[in-house]
Amino acid sequence: MTAPAHEDLSAGRVVLETLGVTKCYHLGEVEVHALRGVDLSIRDGEMLAIMGPSGSGKSTLMHIVGLLDRPSTGTVMVEGEEVSDMAANELAAVRNRRIGFVFQSFNLLARTSALANVELPLVYAGISGAERSRRARAALERVGLGDRLGHLPNQLSGGQQQRVAIARALVTEPSIVLADEPTGNLDSVSGVEVMTILQELNAHGITVVLVTHDDTVSRHATRAVHIRDGRIVRDEPVRDRIMAADRRAAVVAAAQGEDAAE
């Protein structure tokens, strides 16, 4: 697989855009400025990494981009639609249609089958019956879990759970798949598998936003935005992009070597 040229991506349609976004928290008497004016455009088909150390405002930006939170000032546009002044229920509906979440800790519903977990966003989209089941099945097959439909989260490995989460993020065909430290809770082999899937999805035209503090993870993206103290300090294409599929064999071998050493 070859990395698509970033010049092509910059020409893509803007799917999500923040304009002068600030976020201010009040912790008792203290005012915390988590974001101090962020302009960010996410284009169709790109794989964007939002980078930054903890406390940089990275998580806050992710919440705003994921429509889980609203900015103090500034605007957020999704597919040209302003969402920053929407009520909670309207945001929930846009989130349902436009955003797919992949969390560090998977966040699958316990005691609920993989299929039912993937169906969840479709339940709230009002899609029922055979159609829902068919689409959830297709999404699980897409992440290579077509044979694990009835498994409960505690019967799956971490990597498999994260793939269920990816299937859940995909199933509504969202504008953006937002992955927050998707490999943070995984061993190196599972991590590579998850990154492989995210890159494959991206290669098929799905917009992926990675939120991470890990430089290696961010180099799987096509573009990296660095945040510090609530501002974007660097926004550049990834030069020597890592293709997870190419690393897989080396990572597996290294892991086996470690096992042998123990």
């Binding site: 919440h63 889980l68 969840l120 966003p121």
Partner: protein, 398 residues
């Protein structure tokens, strides 16, 4: 999200915590079963007493010494011991003045001890004149009632109820046998068909004798009650008025005249109030069950904070979360209600052996409706709390 979906989610959540769900339901089950059972007893007793009063015969007027009538007198009326009692003369007066088309029966009641051989039985005598059989519809299985001549002669003859027969003359014909009543020898002349028990005592544990004998036996000249059977239903009111006029010169206001219908009304009023009181007491336990539901739902909401966060992240609206938890609470209370209705009805059927019970539709509807209302009422607050959770906070919750 539609209702079927919400129901499925709620059922799955309840199924995931089976023991807890069952224990929570137990509160409602006990409450509903108590409502059904107590109302069934109240209704059953009410029906039985109504039946036994109606079963006395028809077109009856009862005259009691003492003023029991509502709002009557104004003085210390209430059926006191000091009130002058009726005598046989008063009954004779009424019979003479009302005319032969209406039948007047003086009634004396008192406790007696019966003995046959070495068997004894504490019982009650209901003594009247020869017309008693006509006024209080009594069905003789064997023998006969006492006659006018026997009343006049104060003959020691007695007719016995079904319980007396079974206890003192098991497997034999009592007619013609001798029975000792309060130490005096009586001849059994008849026995009466069983009438069933009631709250006022076992109607079958009675012996019937001429009023004249009973007065001697009990050492009194008093008559507790004068019963009058009017010639027809249309005459009942006229008889009641006439009795009032006839007794006023002798007793002033210190007597009461009730028609059968009024007597029935009084009993029904008392028992109706009693039934509502029982239902109210049972309702309190249902309320406690409801608080149990609220308690568990609050625990459930905080336990499932993360789940709520996930649901919100993938697009659940406030309404979706709210309805999920309300439906869960309602399901707990309605399922509990249904089990409670089944248990209460079964309990009522078992109790039937000792107490008259009757499970009525309105009690079932009331209990069911109340339990559903309890579920909604006590489910709304936890559900509201759940629906207002901030998704970011909820996702971070450990």
């Amino acid at each position: 999200m539609n209702l079927v979906e919400s129901l499925r989610i709620a059922l799955r959540a309840l199924g995931a915590n089976k023991v807890r769900s069952a224990l929570t339901m137990l509160g409602v089950i006990i409450g509903v079963a108590a409502v059904i059972l107590l109302v069934a007893i109240g209704t059953g007793v009410q029906d039985e007493i109504t039946g036994s009063i109606e079963g006395l015969g028809s077109n009856l007027v009862f005259v009691f010494a003492g003023n029991f009538e509502e709002g009557g007198g104004g003085g210390p009326g209430g059926g006191g011991l000091s009130t002058r009692q009726f005598s046989v003369d008063d009954a004779d007066l009424l019979q003479r003045r009302l005319g032969p088309e209406h039948i007047v029966v003086p009634v004396v009641q008192g406790p007696v001890t019966l003995r046959v051989g070495n068997r004894t039985l504490r019982s009650v005598t209901a003594a009247a004149n020869e017309n008693a059989g006509e006024v209080f519809s009594a069905e003789y299985l064997g023998g006969r009632g006492y006659r006018r001549s026997e009343v006049a002669a104060a003959a020691r003859v007695v007719a016995i109820g079904a319980t007396v027969r079974d206890r003192l003359f098991p497997n034999q014909d009592p007619v013609g046998q001798t029975i000792s009543i309060n130490g005096q020898r009586f001849t059994v002349i008849g026995h009466v068909a069983a009438q069933g028990g009631s709250l006022t005592g076992d109607q079958d544990n009675q012996v019937y004798m001429p009023v004249t004998v009973a007065q001697r036996l009990l050492g009194t000249t008093d008559i507790g009650l004068i019963a009058i059977k009017a010639s027809s239903a249309d005459e009942v009111d006229a008889v009641q008025r006439q009795v009032r006029q006839l007794l006023r010169p002798r007793f002033g206001e210190e007597f009461s005249v009730f028609t059968q219908e009024q007597t029935l009304g009084i009993f029904q009023q008392i028992l109706g109030t009693l039934t509502f009181m029982l239902a109210g007491i049972a309702g309190i336990s249902l309320l406690v069950g409801g608080i149990g539901i609220m308690n568990i739902m609050l625990v459930s909401v905080s336990e499932r904070t993360r789940e709520i966060g996930i649901r919100k992240a993938v697009g659940a609206r406030t309404y979706d979360i709210m309805s999920q938890f309300v439906i869960e609470a309602v399901l707990l209370s309605v399922l509990g209600g249904m089990v409670g209705i089944a248990l209460g009805s079964a309990g009522a059927a078992v109790l039937q052996q000792w107490v008259p019970t009757q499970v009525t539709l309105w009690a079932v509807m009331l209990a069911f409706g109340f339990s559903a209302a309890v579920g909604i009422f006590f489910g709304v607050y936890p559900a509201y709390k759940a629906s207002r959770l901030d998704p970011i906070e909820a996702l971070r919750y450990e």
